[in-house]
Amino acid sequence: MMDILRNLTIAEVTAWVVVVALNAYVLFGGADFGGGVWDLFASGPRRERQRALVAQAIGPIWEANHVWLIVVVVLLFVCFPIAFSGLATILHIPLSLMLIGIVLRGSAFVFRAYSYGPRAEQRRWGLVFAVSSLITPIVLGICVGAVVSGTVGEALAKIDPGPGFPLGGLPPSRNAAAPPDWTFASLYVQPWLSPFSVAVGVMTLALFSFLAAVYLTVEAEGDPELQHDFQQRALVASGAALATAVVTLIIGAAGGGVMERLVGTGWSLPLLAASTIAAGGAIVALVRRRYRLARLAAAAQVTLILWGWALAQFPLIVPPSLTIDASAAPSRVLAQTLAVLAGGAAVLVPSLWYLLKVFKSRGSAVAHPD
């Protein structure tokens, strides 16, 4: 681990910054998707109060949370154009599906919030919001799983001139991109539609739902009944997350590559162990109704999984062969982008802190409307 830190190139530093942004998106934006899932599965006598709590919790902050995804995408295409263009080519279909989900989720949420129409109309928007919240994380997880498993990289190698392709060079002609055994499915479907990537997709959904339910136990402070509802949901989601994680690890270990490294030797084991401890801690804290502690443990659990993936993959950006360095923009671009990020963070961090302080600090939660 220490030798990794000592020998980092500027491209690798930038890649870790991307991981930080992705981490923020998962913890904040991911939980917003999870909130939509709990809107869909709202049930029991307090169904409407559950929905109201979800809407109230994500209303002021989901736009800001969504921007983390934009930050990730922009950093990828500015700093790692070769990886970005390759991923966008092979993952065209799932990324398009994810975009449709993002469009439907965001617009349906705001349409519901500002609808003057009858209740039936609001319920329809609520349904669109909830269903797209369910589907989008699965597709996002599928994309991640496909990258991790190396199938995207293998497909990319067939259509790309490869690492020898000149950085910043002019685009190759399209016909160079047709390998001899070319079929549509082999390049644009099979690389992402595998048992492993689907397992990662379902695990992503479970983790996002888990995060949301745990956060909502804190949001419901002052309403023990609602807290109980979301405590139960958090425990169920935690079980689902653990189950899918085990399935994912088994399928992944059978496939070798990155997953073998993740469950193999070295530094990845302590990370996995820590993630498991955090998961256990979250469960204990939930059962003991220490909700703020549970929130911390849940965030730690998800963060450790993400960093475990990133470390297992390092220094590759698109396994099995494309490295961070080989896909990076010229170092002057990276240096200036990092400088702008640092400057921007100086504005952003206090603003975000203020936003969360106004809407998420202790005692700021309003009891359910009406």
């Binding site: 209303g59 002021p60 902050i61 736009e63 800001a64 969504h66 921007v67 934009i70 995408v73 922009v74 950093l75 295409f77 500015v78 154009p81 970005f84 263009s85 991923l87 966008a88 080519t89 065209h92 398009s96 975009l99 449709i100 993002i102 469009v103 965001g106 705001v110 349409f111 919030a113 500002y114 609808s115 003057y116 129409g117 609001q122 000149p166 950085l167 910043g168 060079g169 002019l170 685009p171 002609s173 047709a178 549509f184 390049l187 923009a329 010229p330 002057r332 671009v333 200036q336 982008t337 702008v340 921007g344 952003l348 603003s351 975000l352 203020y354 106004v358 809407f359 409307p369 009406d370």
Partner: protein
């Protein structure tokens, strides 16, 4: 439909919707902040009602603009991976900065919308000002990236490779200033006239209450100055285009032959076969004068570039005529309104001139149509290049076949989205105060 045409259509369709969403998302926050400021100064609750109503409009447009902008940032790679592979690092700087502006806007919009009873009045107004400022900054950064495609800068090509990439020089490309100025003014003009037109229609229908009069005055205070400045900004733009993209200028003016003392052609139809623009009203020396401020300046015609590098001349020429005609109308109506307000010594005088109200009602959609037309001029006028003179659009497209499918899927999605936004905006903008409101207003506490 070829894959290239499908990809171009999907990009054009996505942009056509996004540009409207974002233009209103830039313009409405300014109206909203002015109304809130007037409320704080005068205590007139109608201004508060206006601020809240425009805030809801801004919230809807910001959300839809944010998701459609997300789609675009992905589509750059989904449809044009080879373009992004080349251009991503060079034009990344404005996109990174835009990310921050957008983030700031999202944070302060959340504070503004949900903070009426959570933060102090001054902090609330300040949040609105930040939303308005960061919104316009977002737009400026994105247009800077587009300007780079028209006038690429900040790198050197050696042996077919971009070397010596200088991100800030790329951002400060020759068209950056003129394009961002033109687009920003367009956003304020279109939103101002759009809102003014809706309230003019309300007043014409007999709702002559103070609410509509105040709304009309604020909307015109934003829309009219922007419309009056827009012809000047257009002149700046045209001179940059004349210098840097002669083929685009020739196409938009229907100028086939290179000549000195070129006339300005108004209207007409460019006949590419006969290489002349027919049935146009020609003003002698007009084009040389406008493009170079010299009646005898040489204007390069389409004959100065190879035939295969011509943009689609008729589309560009007609789109340009539409933009100029609508812009001229809006500038003239602005003059009229300014004169009316000055003569009447009060902004309410506007609401008593029914002929002016009818002219304003007619102008309601004009700013948006002009924006679509202007966008067509700058994008179609650059073809067949995606990066002027360096990367051809045909070389930039993804190798994935079957692109007609995503094109159709996203078209259906956006048409639905557009229809719903229009429906929602009608509910919010057109509603008379005092009518019952729905879910969205429950959170708001009465003004303190």
């Amino acid at each position: 439909m070829s894959d290239l045409l499908a990809a171009r259509s999907q990009m054009a369709m996505s942009l056509a919707f996004h540009i409207i969403f974002s233009v209103i998302g830039i313009g409405l926050p300014l109206l909203m902040v002015i109304a809130e400021w007037r409320w704080m100064r005068t205590g007139d609750s109608l201004y508060l009602e206006l601020a809240k109503r425009w805030a809801k409009g801004a919230a809807i447009l910001f959300a839809v603009g944010a998701v459609s902008g997300t789609v675009l940032s992905f589509e750059l790679g989904l449809l044009w991976p080879n373009f992004m592979r080349f251009a991503g690092p060079i034009i990344g700087m404005p996109f990174s900065l835009e990310g921050f502006a957008f983030f700031t806007e999202a944070i302060f919009l959340g504070l503004y919308l949900y903070g009426w009873d959570r933060i102090g009045r001054r902090a609330h107004l300040f949040s609105g000002v930040v939303v308005a400022l960061s919104g316009v900054l977002s737009g400026i950064f994105v247009v800077m990236a587009n300007a780079w495609m028209n006038t690429p800068a900040g790198f050197t090509i050696v042996d077919g490779q971009a070397v010596d990439v200088r991100p800030f020089a790329a951002m400060a490309n020759p068209a950056a200033f003129s394009q961002t100025l033109h687009m920003t003014l367009a956003a304020y003009a279109a939103t101002g006239f759009g809102v003014a037109g809706i309230h003019a229609i309300m007043i014409l229908r007999g709702q002559t209450n103070a609410f509509h009069r105040r709304a009309l005055a604020i909307a015109l205070a934003v829309g009219a100055p922007a419309s009056l400045l827009q012809p000047l900004s257009g002149d700046v733009s045209a001179r940059v285009v004349a210098e840097t993209q002669p083929a685009k200028l020739a196409a938009l003016e229907g100028q086939f032959a290179t000549e000195r003392g070129a006339p300005l052609r108004i209207g007409g139809w460019p006949d590419v076969e006969r290489r002349e623009t027919r049935w146009a009203l020609e003003i002698p020396y007009g084009l040389s004068l406008l493009a170079f401020h010299d009646p005898n300046a040489e204007v390069k015609g389409l004959d100065s570039v190879p035939r295969e590098d011509w943009p689609p001349v008729a589309i560009v020429h007609v789109a340009f005529q539409i933009m100029v005609a609508l812009g001229t109308y809006m500038a003239l109506v602005s003059l009229w309104a300014a004169w009316r307000a000055w003569r009447g010594r009060s902004s309410t005088a506007l609401a008593e001139d029914r002929r002016l109200l009818r002219a304003l009602a007619l102008a309601t959609p004009m700013g948006f149509i002009a924006i679509e037309a202007g966008w067509t001029v700058t994008e179609v006028g650059r073809q067949p290049w995606v990066v002027q003179g360096i990367v051809r659009t045909a070389d930039a497209v993804t190798p994935m076949p079957g692109l007609v499918v995503p094109f159709l899927v996203f078209t259906v999605l956006y048409v639905l989205l557009g229809a719903i936004v229009v429906y929602m905006m009608r509910q919010h903008i057109a509603r008379v105060p005092g009518e019952p409101s729905g879910d969205g207003t429950r959170r708001e506490a009465p003004a303190r």
